[in-house]
Symmetry: C2
Subunit: 302 residues, 2 copies
Amino acid sequence: MTPAFIALDWGTTSFRAYLVAVDGAVLDSRADAGGILSIADGAFEAAFERHVAGWDPALPVLASGMITSRQGWVEVPYVTAPAGLVDLAAAIRRKTTLSGREIVFVPGVCLRGPSGVPDVIRGEETQLIGASDASDGMYVTRGTHCKWIEVRAARIDRFATFMTGEVFAVLKEHSILGRLMTVGDASGGGFELGVKAGLNERDGSGGLLHMLFSARTLGLFGDIEGEQLAPYLSGLLLGAEIAGARAMFAPGTRPITVVGSTVLTAPFMVALKLAGLNSQLAPEDAAVRGLAKIGRQIGVVA
Amino acid sequence: MTPAFIALDWGTTSFRAYLVAVDGAVLDSRADAGGILSIADGAFEAAFERHVAGWDPALPVLASGMITSRQGWVEVPYVTAPAGLVDLAAAIRRKTTLSGREIVFVPGVCLRGPSGVPDVIRGEETQLIGASDASDGMYVTRGTHCKWIEVRAARIDRFATFMTGEVFAVLKEHSILGRLMTVGDASGGGFELGVKAGLNERDGSGGLLHMLFSARTLGLFGDIEGEQLAPYLSGLLLGAEIAGARAMFAPGTRPITVVGSTVLTAPFMVALKLAGLNSQLAPEDAAVRGLAKIGRQIGVVA
């Protein structure tokens, strides 16, 4: 099949490029941990050309993720929510590289919450365009930072960032909570116990800063095994995230569409089920699909 | 004045010893960062003798803090709450060192909360005995982990640990939230803004895992200066702690007694005031006073 365009999903800590056919089929791909933080002196073009060596330089390139941020290759200012496909397409920035490639950079989306506090997504808007088929409802992207996104009238209406993944990582690696954790069979009851505790974060529970300490004391008192403590902490944080997001978005009974790699989406969907919430999985290539839609919208992809 | 006993407050990351007169006056003291984590192969006695060189070996020693834990010198099992001076005194452990010193080790206190989850204090029970004069009410000790302790009928009735100090430290040092923080004048409005945001953690706010991200976006959008971001995050966490603890303990209008060093108690008391709660400062030598009371109770101190 003939390649139609190159999809570039270049984030803070990972590089992913896809050679895509006109029907959306991925013909080839290149990926590694060379995120934008690993690029010195703004040498993005050299890194990009090294990654996509052999791919036709006449193909248009569509790029999303932190590569479009201030720390990236070409900064694209945020579009303010509500924002849909047409709004994103109208705000893209273009660049022609030294080697003659035409690159389109997709903007992120920002908003100010009810109390005036800003929030941002960059990269997730493209995943959402790819995952949504423009249908209204809740979408959640999984990653270091997780984004709960509400689509209304085919546009990103509002969203909120949850630092769940990063908070888990820093507490496990750098706090006292990691000390009693051991590596082993994580399939026991720790995760479910944690989710239920996190979901019950309410008046009288003391809140998250108190409940976190249970990931130490349950181990100290032998209530749960060392190998269950990391799943417990992960569950506790997912439960607290879901409790907070549910109160914010009131998702109702419509299934929540979950976007991301299986290792992150699977436990989250278990946690949603424990919370009594329905969910469904988005296609894994949501970013590629989103870039294709934006490319068609601006006439760069056939 | 004649020395009456040696008070030893030996924690995870600090060593403090005091030479104390019969009236409670501190005649001499030794302190450094040689906490129990820095002691290799259980060589506690050698480290102790090095620190207190020159102090009369005939004086009784009273010890509290993590030195009485499983990782310490002599493990003293937890006493279960409710527990007061008499209960603590009845559960002490004694040791005679190779050099002939008589050491009394004070127990910590444990409980299981309403949902059966354990919680513990070790060292704070002694500070509390020293700070309380046995009067009923709420006490809060400040440190890496903070303890809200309710005294009822002159005993530690219930308590809860909040990981506020450690969570602040790991987020500042190891998460993306530290990236935009700059060092500078911290006296601006960031701290107060953070406390108010944290106090408002409630249904619809998204909860702490969402609100933490504001310590990045407020900086990204220039709403607050880089030097205000660390005070903002500190205030946000203190506000969330107070909101959670208030719902748990319903402290009412009686002043909350705050225990700890000024650098930690001062911002916390400002945060309590912003929450509309009254507070008063405990004497800085609460641990020494508590050890003296326990010593008198068991007849080791005159």
